[in-house]
Symmetry: C2
Subunit: 208 residues, 2 copies
DNA sequence: TAGATTGTTAATCGATTAACAATC
DNA sequence: TAGATTGTTAATCGATTAACAATC
């Protein structure tokens, strides 16, 4: 099986669902999970077994606690990872405050920007540093990935610097295709497009 | 052809690419676009023709200006849509400031929250109102969709109120499956999962 | 005319679902 | 034992790619 973003998102949906179950529910069937989340039950079974290696018992289902632990493990909860935000605009600063990251073992340690107006600020206890200090910071603090939030025109240059600093993963909110060497993983996020697709559906619904 | 989020995102990638071309480039081939963006050329052609109805000419390609206009039209640039943010946490407030939305004709007009500490604030010129005023606001200001950012426990109740207000689309950042009537479209966003998948790839790469 | 490029039709690939035997 | 539920194998569905004739 192939781990796509779609699969990964569903796995975290399963995990959230399992975690909100009342504590007296100790076992659960894939059938129940599937119905609650509006998914196919075979899909749920396949993905649970893929991600957690969990073995269910016919008739009783899966042990909830085991499943939760295995999913957390697979999704990275127990495996800490350090990220920096590059470009401390309001979305960048919001991501420094974003609690949910810690559910996946992700910690934002600092932000970087080249605007005097934001340098020196603190967000959720972490500093906004000058972009000039990027290289020095990365040498001192092992950093795994960067959240890229800079203006379009700066994106490729900043990206090159991040790669030179040894980062191997970039989460880019900039809508241009970055050129990176083999071995560096880039994931593009387009918030506006996600939202706009919804409005597109609204319009098509009206036409019917 | 089916309009999925994947397709929609690629369309907006094409559009961004076309827009950053120097003005002297008036015609472009699907082959060039595909190569620049690292995609298959047949895919680009198919999606361009699907979304824009644009007709290319063998040998010369497509007229850039026509393509841009048609894509903007398809993606909603010329079709304004009003959104509210419900739950004015830092991500919610960042989305009120998010410039890119206007590229898709999206305008956030207000935010709602039930915490006294944020009610009355302004963000990008738009107010944070009391959640109590939601119904009244929606009666006075036609609103198309809501960006849902409230605590997990409140999500379903708030969602029900939004549906009762006549909203037909919800963009939810809350990781629970909402129950909505037929005809209401929900899109779930899981920022943390997107980022966590990247770190997962990092870890698997290390193991090789 | 020759070559680049389009758009279509058929083939492939991957993800989801259906069917079903195994088992607690 | 009978019924619920698992996990696997085969079928379907949809998205992407390959092949190719049409055409500027």
């Amino acid at each position: 099986m192939n781990l796509t973003l779609t699969v990964f998102r569903r796995l975290s949906l399963y995990l959230h669902y399992l975690k909100q179950l009342p504590p007296e529910v100790t076992r659960i069937s894939a059938t129940t999970v599937a119905n609650e989340l509006g998914l196919g039950e075979v899909l749920v079974r396949k993905e649970l077994s893929f991600a957690s290696g969990a073995v269910g018992r016919p008739k009783t289902g899966y042990v909830v606690a085991t499943l939760i632990h295995a999913l957390e493990n697979f999704l990275g909860y127990h495996n800490h990872c350090r990220a920096i935000v590059v470009g401390a605009n309001s979305l960048g600063r919001a991501l420094m405050n974003y609690d949910e990251f810690s559910d996946y073992g992700l910690y934002v340690t600092a932000a970087f920007d080249d605007r005097e107006s934001v340098i020196g600020q603190f967000e959720a206890g972490h500093p906004v540093l000058s972009l000039d200090d990027l290289e020095q910071f990365c040498r001192q603090q092992p950093t795994d990935l960067a959240i890229l939030n800079v203006p379009k025109g700066d994106a490729q240059a900043v990206c090159d610097r991040l790669v030179a600093c040894g980062l191997r993963a970039i989460w880019s909110f900039v809508p241009i295709a970055l050129k990176v060497p083999e071995g560096v993983k880039v994931h593009y996020e387009n918030m506006a497009a996600s939202l706009a697709l919804l409005t597109h559906h609204l319009r098509s619904a009206e036409e019917d």
